[in-house]
């Protein structure tokens, strides 16, 4: 069984030997993909599934976008009716493998029944696997797919290399996967993910959510429509999770200007209750705000006080993602630009220039408007202050002009890889014994 490190190894640079004739290329035209649409290729079509901490994407290979895309916290509410009757919270963390598997069974069966509309036993599955996925989760997903749903075969595609495929070249790239639980920086060179040099930071989507909620609790004002009170602060019961998620996904922008170093001491992820930003920092934010109005209004349904108007200071919308760029010194968490620079420092010397010239930012958080450009600016600033200042001039974003959304790039890349019949680590139903899965550490024979 080949290991994931050897997957896609055909894409490496050639040795200086003779090439074959170029007549292979002559018959290739744009029509090849059109013909595959006409003739279906349904037997070779696989189902591509990307299960993350927060979202699930599923669809068919050969499609440019997943047919099903949902947020997991609302999905797990499906098992809710009896759980709610017994008083169990449907959003509690899973405590055991069995429970994780049971939830995955419900989830995947529902996806097959309502969106994929195929018999699970007829189509192979390709899983998009990120670099730091826990072994227990991999095993649980494989057991559910092979054991319960009885798919004939499961293959694992590395998310970083697949995402880089959507840019057209897997020669070199630094893939920054900004997910919900962690941000992972993976260098990819010659179609191989260089896993020993991976860095990560927990300042990701959930940290952004907590920070935003803390800022709103401390600085936003709420006016209930029913009462005569002018406004009140956003105490417990005003902000529901739906409202904060809506603000996070639709209303945030990343400011292009970083705060100066001395003001950053009080920056940190708000813990949801209190926010300890210093007054100078708030003043800096307000004076450097690019928003045209100081306050944004939003009509919301609060938890306990009915409908009302929420007034959000516009600097919160611009600066909620600030801890992701500047780090959290209080909790000793490094920022995303720091993680990128650390990864460059770990990577082999002769790959660094190629890697930093191709920084691909993927993941749901990367869809924040202005996020990627601000990230690049901060990386350039960090590089200039570090030992590798010569690299600062080469830093550039990859895939900036393409039409793929950052959150579906890994999925689309895997769909490409499957449709182009690029093979990888596979496990079939007969050979799976229920407890061991081939891993990237498996040694090739």
């Amino acid at each position: 069984m080949t290991s994931a490190l050897d997957s896609l190894n055909f894409l490496r640079r050639p040795l200086p030997s003779t090439t074959t004739s170029s007549s292979v290329l002559s018959g290739i035209g744009i029509g090849s993909s059109a013909s595959s649409i006409l003739y279906g290729a349904s037997t070779e079509e696989k189902i591509v599934i990307d299960i993350g901490t927060r979202s699930l994407r599923a669809g068919f290979s050969g499609d440019h976008a997943p047919i099903h895309s949902s947020v997991l916290s609302t999905r797990f509410a499906l098992t809710g009716s009896i759980a709610r009757a017994l008083g169990h919270s449907t959003q509690s963390a899973t405590e055991s493998e069995e429970e994780l598997e049971a939830r995955l069974i419900e989830l995947l069966r529902d996806v097959y029944r309502h969106d994929l509309l195929v018999d699970a036993r007829t189509r192979k599955v390709a899983l998009v696997e990120s670099a730091l996925v826990p072994v227990a989760l991999r095993l649980a997903v494989a057991r559910v797919l092979l054991g319960n749903l009885r798919v004939p075969q499961v293959s694992f595609y590395p998310a970083s290399v697949a995402a880089l495929m959507t840019c057209g070249s897997v020669h070199a790239g630094l893939v920054v996967d900004c997910g919900h639980r962690t941000v992972t920086v993976t260098p990819v060179y010659e179609a191989r993910a260089l896993l020993p040099y991976v860095t990560s930071t927990p300042l990701a989507g959930s940290a952004l959510f907590d920070n935003l909620r803390g800022l709103l609790r401390s600085y936003a004002r709420f006016t209930p429509a029913s009462s005569r009170r002018v406004d009140m602060d956003c105490r417990e019961g005003v902000l529901t999770e739906t409202v904060v998620t809506h603000v996070m996904t639709k209303l945030l922008v990343a400011s292009p200007i970083a705060p100066p170093g001395k003001l950053r001491e009080t920056l940190g992820v708000a813990d949801g209750d209190a926010c300890a930003l210093s007054n100078e920092l708030v003043a800096f934010y307000e004076s450097n705000s690019t928003c045209s109005s100081a306050v944004t209004g939003l009509t919301i349904d609060s938890g306990r006080y009915g409908r009302g108007l929420l007034l959000i200071p516009s600097w919160i919308r611009e600066r909620a993602a600030e801890p992701l760029f500047c780090g959290d010194p209080g909790a000793d968490l490094q920022s995303i630009p720091d993680a990128i620079v650390q990864c460059i420092g770990r990577a082999p010397l002769d790959t660094r220039r190629a890697l930093i010239a191709n920084v691909l930012v993927i993941g749901g958080i990367a869809e924040l408007p202005g996020f990627r450009h601000r990230l690049l600016r901060d990386v350039v600033d960090r590089l200039r202050d570090s030992r590798w200042s010569a690299l600062a001039a080469d830093a550039a974003l990859a895939g900036d002009e393409s039409a793929f959304m950052p959150s579906t790039r890994a999925w689309a890349g895997t769909s490409l890889a499957v449709a182009a019949k690029i093979g990888t680590v596979e496990v079939s139903r007969e050979e799976f014994d229920g407890c061991t899965l081939p891993d990237w550490t498996a040694i090739t024979q």
Binding site: T19, I30, D119, R143, V144, L251, C291, G297, F432
Partner: protein, 468 residues
């Protein structure tokens, strides 16, 4: 949130979830023996299979209406362990049946003019207006939304889905995807061709040692497609100028302003996971809601309920508020026999630190089910001479009526809990007198067919209410 709801009785399905140990043929020997020891142990000991306080509980139990029964294996099956397969596709709006091969080519949505209004999700209808060269558009009868507002106007009234798909396929993302696919297919083709040519035919190890792959020199570099404008700058500008955010919709899909095609509905046939016997088979016609084969657990296993009328009479504390720790509570459970043959029921409670359960009626017989018109009130009173009312009371049986028997349990909760759950192990024995023609072919003439004995045993959890 722990609301005290009406008490219910939940049935436990013995499926183990993802990987049954019998499915994994090459599982290491230690694990397999551990599994078999566990199952042997649980049938002898009195431990319930799932702890009612764990979060796994709600994922393993269901009400009886949601369970299936395989009569070959004589066991319960739940929605999580049956094998589901498609048994027909149709559009839920126009009820047009779609065959399996067309489902994928139509992207799992209805190929005719079935669209959902983006505002109110009602079905849109095609209307004709008098103006212009594109008279047809989609309109909603409920909220008066019209597709002209987003610029969707059509020349023909039919095949609107095809026209929309053509527009969508001409967008940047699908074109870029096909360009990338062509590129990677070329690279793959060139690399396999050169690898096969460079190394001899006999060496099987060559595939794992792909060396010189002249892909970069031969295949031209990929160039991104022109035409994808930078929408991020425009988006940033829009957000920066935002003053009132009310018009920003909560929908996560960027296409939320456009009508969505209605997704097809798949009829499912269900099979037992171990013997592949069909449990549920729906009629293939889209309009038909009946089933050709319907093996529901309620038709084979006794229905256990907490009857309200009898509870009022025999266990009034059940319906009032939270229970007190240490105080004995009497609970009435009623068993109803769905079969046409008699059924013997054995009940066993388990030892638990949370609650003490005393079952007086450990064994009783359930009379067979009779149709309503055969039921005669006078006949019932006469035949109850078999069952002496006094001995019934001592034996814990409080009521008998037709095919139903109600028994009384004494329950004493020992610790406070948000919900008092009593696990009970039920074993039912009945004689299946349906003659299987192939098996009993030899003993046909004159002799009474000896039916087979069917024993079902399962765990039941009675959810009662809050304990303070």
């Amino acid at each position: 949130m722990t609301d005290t709801l009406l008490p219910t009785v939940l049935y436990h399905c013995p499926c183990t979830g993802a990987m049954r140990h019998s499915d994994a043929s090459n599982e290491p020997a230690e694990k397999r023996s551990k599994h078999s020891n566990d199952t042997k142990g649980s049938s002898q000991s009195e431990r319930p299979p799932v702890d009612s306080r764990s979060a796994l509980f709600s994922l393993r139990v269901s009400t009886l209406e949601n369970l299936y029964y395989c009569d070959d294996c004589s066991s319960l099956r739940c929605t999580r362990c049956v094998v589901e397969e498609p048994a027909g596709y149709h559009c839920p709006n126009c009820l047009f049946e779609v065959n399996t091969t067309s489902v994928r080519s139509e992207k799992n949505s209805c190929a005719r003019n079935c669209f959902q209004c983006p505002v109110c999700t009602h079905v849109l209808s095609v209307v004709e207006s008098s103006e212009g060269e594109r008279p047809f558009s989609l309109s909603c009868a409920v909220c008066c939304w019209n597709s002209r507002e987003i610029g969707w106007e059509f020349e023909k009234a039919t095949g609107i889905s095809t026209q929309i798909e053509r527009i969508r396929a001409a967008e940047v993302a699908p074109r870029e995807y096909s360009a990338l696919l062509d590129y990677w297919r070329t690279v793959q083709r060139v690399s396999t061709a050169s690898a096969a040519a460079a190394v001899g035919a006999g060496s099987t190890g060559s595939f794992k040692q792909r060396l010189a792959v002249p892909s970069i020199g031969v295949v031209p570099e990929y160039k991104a497609i022109e035409g994808s404008s930078d929408t991020e700058q425009a988006h940033v500008a829009e957000l920066v100028a935002l003053e009132n955010a009310d018009y920003v919709s909560y929908a996560s899909d960027p296409r939320c302003k456009e009508p969505q095609r209605i997704r097809l509905h798949m009829k499912l046939a269900r099979r037992c996971c171990s013997c592949h016997h069909i449990l549920i088979k729906p009629m293939p016609k889209a309009q038909a809601t009946q089933f050709k084969i319907q093996l529901m657990a309620a038709n084979f296993l006794p229905t256990i309920t907490l009857p309200s009328r009898l509870s009022l009479k025999y266990s009034p504390q059940l319906l009032e508020g939270p229970f007190a720790v240490g105080r004995m509570l009497s609970v009435v459970l009623r068993f109803a026999n769905p079969l046409y043959t008699e059924m013997k029921v054995d009940i066993a409670s388990c030892l638990s630190g949370d609650v003490r359960v005393d079952v007086a009626a450990r064994q009783f017989t359930l009379p067979p089910f009779t149709e309503l018109w055969e039921y005669d009130e006078d006949e019932d009173e006469d035949s109850s001479g078999d069952y002496n009312a006094n001995s019934d009371q001592r034996g814990g049986i409080v009521d008998r009526h037709g095919n139903r028997v109600a028994i009384q349990l004494s329950v004493t909760p020992l610790v406070p809990a948000p919900n008092l759950v009593i696990p009970l192990h039920i074993t039912c024995l009945h004689i299946d007198d349906l003659v299987d023609g192939e098996k009993d072919g030899s003993s046909m003439a004159g002799s009474k067919p000896a039916g087979r004995k069917v024993t079902d045993s399962f765990w039941v959890y009675a959810v009662l209410g809050k304990v303070q």
